[in-house]
């Protein structure tokens, strides 16, 4: 381990919101990654909580397979409320 490994940084900007990916940084260990993330990504009160995860531990979908992979979400328009025609008399539905 000659170089410090890469970590991905996620910040919760205020309570009630989810953690959001903000970028990455190198650190020798998770504690240092959290401290660096504080110094690099929250100098102006941008966060109330920080997650870090070693980038090598992250698994991701393959963008070259996007068409096939996300296809099931495209052909089921009956999942959307606008698919259903209701009489105008029905309000607030």
């Amino acid at each position: 381990m000659k170089d410090w490994p890469l970590y991905e940084v996620f910040i919760r900007s205020r309570s009630g919101l989810n953690h959001k990916h903000v970028g990455s940084l190198h650190a020798a260990d998770p504690q240092m990654a959290i401290e660096h993330a504080r110094d690099v990504y929250t100098r102006r009160m941008e966060g109330v909580s920080i997650w870090v995860v070693e980038s090598s531990r992250l698994h991701a979908s393959d963008p070259t397979e996007n068409d096939a992979f996300f296809e099931p979400s495209q052909d089921k328009i009956y999942r959307h409320p606008t698919f259903y025609d209701l009489p105008d008399e029905v309000k607030h539905m």
Binding site: S24, M32, V40
Partner: protein
Amino acid sequence: MPAQLFEERIEGEEKIEPRDWMPEEYRRTLIRQISQHAHSEIVGMLPEGNWVTRAPSLKRKAILLAKIQDEAGHGLYLYAACETLGVSREDLLSELHSGKAKYSSIFNYPALSWADMGAIGWLVDGAAIMNQIPLCRTSYGPYARAMVRICKEESFHQRQGYEIMLTLSRGTEVQKQMAQDALNRWWWPSLMMFGPGDADSVHSLQNLRWKIKRFSNDELRQRFVDMTVPQAELLGLNIPDPLLRWNPDRNHYDFGPIDWDEFWNVVRGNGPCNRERLHDRVNAHEEGAWVRDAAIAHAIKQRNRQAPVAS
């Protein structure tokens, strides 16, 4: 096929993300541009570091430290964005340290007086912002996101610089003279920050087509001049260009020719501070080696000490 999809996505203002297919030349161009940009942030701390211990008040010192810390942060955002293109941090740093990679030539000029801290914030950061705001819409996602963060933080840099100039220019005659002297020395190098004129810019056309750049060097330079001249008037300072005047036909300021020989001379390594900057940077890296090694040794020790715990 992937090439066509790539062009369509660029055309449709869709961002390109790290694992998407991209032409090799697009990748190379981005690595060059983002790393140069990162190096500029890091080297850009050096002229200012010169004034931390000599700032005229505790307030100014604290502000200067905060600005320098931002620049370290900007360097880190950009190195991280660059690494998503498959290049390692170590390689990026060694290219800077060997002198192979370039950084913005402006940082090869010396910061001789306190007024230079004002002129750098006002003009150098002002020119940088002019360049960077369109980059928030650049076609490569991680670069665009880094630029959004940077632009948010950069505005304080310019304002604090202008405020230093304002204070000096409303001060004693000597202080006003200091401000004028700083403007005299930083004006032309600031205009050079936008790079060669469009006719001589090697990378411009392809970069505009790929939406890496959104405006040409000359367009941005003109915008900078138009914005800055009234600000200098407000300070009561004179811009050191006898040919500068408002042109009502163009609705822009005309300005004198830029000394491109000087620009290329500094790019080639012969500016007033090129050697000093590189020497200081290499020195900082080498003298920090034991800290990096110690952190690794500590991490390994901690890891070995913690027996795996079932949760």
